[in-house]
Symmetry: C2
Amino acid sequence: MQTSFARRFDGVSGSAIRDIFKLLGQPGMISFAGGNPAASALEDTLLADIARDVLLRDGKRILQYGATEGWVPLREQTARFLREDVGLEVSEADVLPTTGSTQAVDLLLKALVDEGDVVLVEGPSFLGSLQAMKLYGARLVEVPMDAEGLIPEKLEEAVRQYRPKLLYTVPNFQNPTGVTLSQARRKAVAALAARYNFFIAEDDPYRGLRYEGTHLPSIFSFDTEARVVYLTSFSKLISPGLRVGAAVTRDPALMRKLTVGKQSTDCHTANLTQAMVAEYLARDLLPGHVQKICARYREQLTHMVDGFAGFPDGVEMVRPQGGLFVWAALPDGMDALALLQQAVQRGVAYVPGTHFYANGGHLNTLRLNFSNSEIDQIDRGMRILGELVKGGQ
Amino acid sequence: MQTSFARRFDGVSGSAIRDIFKLLGQPGMISFAGGNPAASALEDTLLADIARDVLLRDGKRILQYGATEGWVPLREQTARFLREDVGLEVSEADVLPTTGSTQAVDLLLKALVDEGDVVLVEGPSFLGSLQAMKLYGARLVEVPMDAEGLIPEKLEEAVRQYRPKLLYTVPNFQNPTGVTLSQARRKAVAALAARYNFFIAEDDPYRGLRYEGTHLPSIFSFDTEARVVYLTSFSKLISPGLRVGAAVTRDPALMRKLTVGKQSTDCHTANLTQAMVAEYLARDLLPGHVQKICARYREQLTHMVDGFAGFPDGVEMVRPQGGLFVWAALPDGMDALALLQQAVQRGVAYVPGTHFYANGGHLNTLRLNFSNSEIDQIDRGMRILGELVKGGQ
């Protein structure tokens, strides 16, 4: 007899890029898909020592059940990081450690979204978050972006028309476009949330990875009504495999919902990985490490951007100021989804841009990641892609 | 302006025992609340070495993004554990590692339950799972138990009346009652699931903690239709703080839903804690460790059971064959919820049984945990409780 699954899975088949990822194991494949940190950025021997140190010092507590609210030293260190590095006025009580910022998005949706509620998303947006929203039965409405990010006038139009529960935005070096929301617009966006009474998920995992220009204040910092929930992650800065991120809110009622939701979801994030990140931060290792990885990522980005010189006219690309991705639009009529088959046959993978749009379309776009490839792979991969695009015209 | 949270939180305020837990930090408090392993059962120096070893050997992979499907060595070792120790005919493809079995319950509900769907639960049942069900909008229907666990005739009545999506059962040393489902009933329950086409969540975290009698075959082993999802956990056997459990199903379509749900929930469980448990299992450390902790828990259980000699007539208690809990019913008319205030004032905490019933009531019942108290604390705490019960009559 037919099994009946929950309706929330109707039309959700899993991340579209998973099938691409399965190809990446092929020997010699150059992968511009994914968003993995460079292997060289992962400090295995240092973190092996830190793991041992925290377990020898605090093992009985680390191995026991922990609080859903999180490992206290991590809450303190994350609050310090947010105050000193990000410029948020927060205390540890505002910080809920999560199992990666993936879980922070999930818990926020769980706290806020009933089936049919509207969530505004950037067009395009991070596909993992889009999938999470679909699983909560959210109605996704795209807000257009330009080179300065979300367009506030378009946002206000959408807010008035759809009365959303939530706006989801990645303000720095957005995944997938690499675009950064301008300072004036951050202020405008925060003001709209206060005026029209919706929440903002400010998902900011790439902030530390700035290769040029200066850091901008967060949307959170312009928020006077506790409407902005700031989502941070140590995945891009320390290690994604440890799964440590956080949701940050100054609204105690929302914090309670997030915490109750988390209690039923995983009880608490593993104490060990929380304690390791807390120790890493307490030892003040982050600034030096981020400086080191940024130097390398900047060079990789430059090679990728330079690689576009071999592409035909009509290809649009804007060099991002940071992050892990370069976004490109091929000439109208070209199909990056179809081109991917040929690219993979020639040993290069990327993610077609259409997967990042809540409603699909935009077949001529694609996302390229540079952090997880060697310089010579970037040069070679871009040459191959350039030839394919030329041939496909 | 009023904030509007998702409706799923209506009537869910967080685990009822959280407030009790906050009292447990008071100096000298004897806690029979909670379900924590003994501190002596947590092998901090061994696990410190294992953490370091796996990171030095496999650190670049452990610290990178992992697969939602889980760390391959853990899937293999868990499948081996299930085959050799539990007697399940499964391969690694049937195993989805989760962030504790809490997450396994959550993902199963996400895969199956639409708002208003009926989930059958034992009366009483584990309150954490009850809360998770409420957050999915499930309608909870209690099935009565006796000393052999769920009563199949009552189950069939409920199935025919309510057409449930799912039955949730803890077959071994149930939380909270300590009751074990008899072998004949396991077979009957599996047959009902096949006949009436509902799923069974067989939540089995305590199986290894058997202090007398012989292991019984799982419900899963009587299931010919892939209707039983077996949930296991290493929280009680190795460490709860590592948050490593698993959902086990032979239904590939369900496995896909669980995996897609997990992808949006936390991307994957921390690779490090998965790798540590895999290494622990690969080194064949589990059997010796379980033998050791069982010897200690058996002694603690005996002291707690003996402590009932000081209770007045009319108090009902059945010695469990394993697990972490002793369940007691005070004489009718007594209120274990009200008595808790006095108990806490005298330095003893427990969990009132009413919290474990989907519909409340049963105010005369209470759950006592013995694993997390020293022998002299158990003796003293039981003496105090006995006096209070006598005085309350």
